[in-house]
Amino acid sequence: MNVELRKKAKELLKTKQVEMIIGYQRGPDGISATPVFITREEEAENLIWDVYCVYNLSNYLKDFPGKKIGIIAKECDVRSIIVLLQENQLKRDDIFIIGVECSGVIAEHTLASGKESPGELDFDEKCKACRPSTPRLYDYLVSQKDQKDKGVLPEENPYQDIRKFEAKSIEERFKFWQEEFSRCIRCYACRQICPMCYCPRCVADQTMPTWFSRAPDLEGNLAWNVIRAFHLAGRCIDCGECERACPVGIPLREVNKKIEKDIKELFDYEAGAGVDQKPLLSCFDQNDPEDFIR
């Protein structure tokens, strides 16, 4: 399938349908993948697609406004492109989506443990909650016919862990998050890697006023992590990049998932369902639940 991918990429560049293709190439360690930005046909030979291609490349689309960009995207990446389209951050005509079929990517942190081959490695947690393997939106699809996948099976109940955690006492919950957030170093990798975090000036960097402490203390870290997740309500498509990028292992997906579950229950809303969908917080329903309001 890499052959087909490269062929299509060359064709797109040759016919000038796109100015650049954002894809994956093999990293300097010879195992993992890294993002690559291709503008010349011969460079297309570097393109790859396999279980090591964990990144959500749609994060880079904001770097090239007004350019025609081809992007290699799996199902979860496509969902984030859809959200960006919903929010008018992209023009549909400016992007050419080369969809790739995905049966799960590896959990990247396990690479550090010395394991290398796909069979030994675990699939990423996010893939266990993901259902379809064909992207819901694409301009060209590279199908995965030459690879008999052992892909992950979707979990029966994707919010099982969240429910379990909700059942704990309030003190336990606070203690858990206090400990997790205490490790936060405020490097903002979670924000920077997120395709949805495109604010020109993030609330964390604002000084007039300063919304919450910029020091990595309890108040600052908690406020930052809560507001980061909140700003993704109805927008997070669970690509898991924030959690992967976090150098100190804070389970950020567990916060994102909580909101995902809530909005499903409260508003029957799923982020990134379709381009015509309205963003969750800029619309409402007359009958939205209000049992929490006095």
Binding site: V226, D262, L280, L281, F284
Partner: protein, 162 residues
Amino acid sequence: MNKSQIPDHSPQKNSGDRNLKAPIKDFEPKIVGFLCNWCSYAGADLAGTSRIKYPPNIRVIRVPCSGRVNPLFVLNCLMNGVDGVLVSGCHIGDCHYSEGNFYARRRFAILKRLLEYIGIDPRRFQMAWVSAAEGERWAKLVGELVEEIKEAGPNEHFGGNR
């Protein structure tokens, strides 16, 4: 304390020794209320002009609409040691701007659940609809709120050492 000798709390463990608040038995909570200009603020005003007595624990911040209230306002209050936050607006259908409170309702439904998930007592963040005619109701609401937050106790996780 000697001027030059403020004990330093190293950043690694500045979560301890934070309870600088009053003991619980005579605990008077500090509550911040974000009140919409058109209904709830007028309602609170009515309570005042009608000389209805209610606890003085609430500090009112007037906002144009409950839809103006940013979750950051709520977090900022809680992180600075406020014991409870109330967002109050017009009843559904009465919004001066037609739909501001609809947006607020969605937004805070999510925030309320999220704060609870993180381990912040749900009693500390409350939302209400109070109309301009409901002076009586406003006073009752504040009374209940103060009782609830007294039960919840001081917000000792945050805002100490400041």
